[in-house]
Symmetry: C2
Subunit: 247 residues, 2 copies
Amino acid sequence: MTPLSPDPASLRGLRLFSGLDAAALAEIVRSAQTRRIEKGTTIFSQGDRAALCHALIDGRVKIVQTGADGQQLVVRYIGAGEMFGTAAVFSGGIYPADALATVDCVGVHWTAATMGELMERYPRIALNALDIVGRRLQEVQTRLRELSTERVERRVAHALLRLVRQAGRRVGNGVEIDFPLSRQDIAEMTGTTLHTVSRILSGWEGQGIVEGGRQQVTIRQPHALVAIAEDLPKPEKPDDASKPGGK
Amino acid sequence: MTPLSPDPASLRGLRLFSGLDAAALAEIVRSAQTRRIEKGTTIFSQGDRAALCHALIDGRVKIVQTGADGQQLVVRYIGAGEMFGTAAVFSGGIYPADALATVDCVGVHWTAATMGELMERYPRIALNALDIVGRRLQEVQTRLRELSTERVERRVAHALLRLVRQAGRRVGNGVEIDFPLSRQDIAEMTGTTLHTVSRILSGWEGQGIVEGGRQQVTIRQPHALVAIAEDLPKPEKPDDASKPGGK
DNA sequence: CGTTCCGTTTGCGCCGGCGCAAAGAGACGC
DNA sequence: GCGTCTCTTTGCGCCGGCGCAAACGGAACG
């Protein structure tokens, strides 16, 4: 852990602090702690007292929840500009999951007490936090519905599209997820096994929809993935000689 | 919709307003609208602009999310003293689900603008809301993990235990869920079909663990349900062929 | 008191996807 | 360059639970 002096400009990008004036931002910057986080580092662990509110300046953090029997669920990936661990500070005070750096990161944090005071003084921060947590709640509820009602293939498609939206980087032949992502990770995001994910990706690769690598996925035909996610009949199949109107 | 003058005492019970002084509560009461809600009423619908923050004084409200293909998910049941629809007001402004009264209810509500002002003036309200939404987020994440990793029977056990905790009423022979709850509802809470739920409950009824009725469930042996939910090896079944009621 | 309606129960057959297992393929260290 | 380690791919068999469908039973209504 290497304390640094935080850069005001980087904090300005955080949604948590949007709409605040320069004075408030200055105070926020003053009270923040910045540090570099090496790939693989566990930033906090499930069950720990939630003593710090975190935000990411750069990198990618994986939030993982572990069940009593060791079963794991990838709750979400945090990207630059997003906060994490903050909801726990103000609801129960126990982190409900592990946070671990999937790549080298730069993070900032505030103590629970400091953030509490900031929120009391600048209610806008609390409202921003409410906004953010509310959106995550909606997203998780949507995932819950997907998991309840959709088949594995559609869920994987949804998960990939979600990743593209928040971590997609345009490359020559499509869009790639810009951090290490194993089949196991995808399985833990979609409630299946790495075997099934591997089979599905292999199938898609055969159709030219995606391109896989070691801890790496590139989407070549996002529209085809959308078609699968939305369960559209059949986007395009050159050989429509047999057009039965069904599957 | 019958406007009434809200009772300050009933609002004091809301977690959303805990920790506020009398003056603040008085203002909150002044700005609230109370109404009776008949069983079966849709309070708001998925996709509507989120113009009102709601709270329940009495009764039970079901929050249901519907997917593109009509598939439904019971997100949660709201009981007396709980707020609902509030997160949507401050995150996106669109209700992500339907809210419908499963019994006759009494509710209060504030306009989005009013609640926003209240939160600005009394940051404590925003912090309380953050607390509540954060807890719901944690709960939904836990359900997500259960849905990902557990078999149907355990999920149903978890769902029933959760309901007992928030809507259980002690009766002579156990604990009953104090509002109309169909097999279909349980299925939509656990990501399965009413057929499977029916089979499972029938099985449990045969073991004397629960007692079912029309839109009605009574838990006779909560500990046995816990054992199933936690996947304990086998609570005790020394004489499963002769006398199942011996506890 | 009979009819209708809705929620529930139960049998049967099928299949998506998991469990197991083993082999393949990059990445990394020495 | 070589061995090792981790991640990935793929075949095979099995089964939990869904889909379908019919029957049942209690409540509400006229």
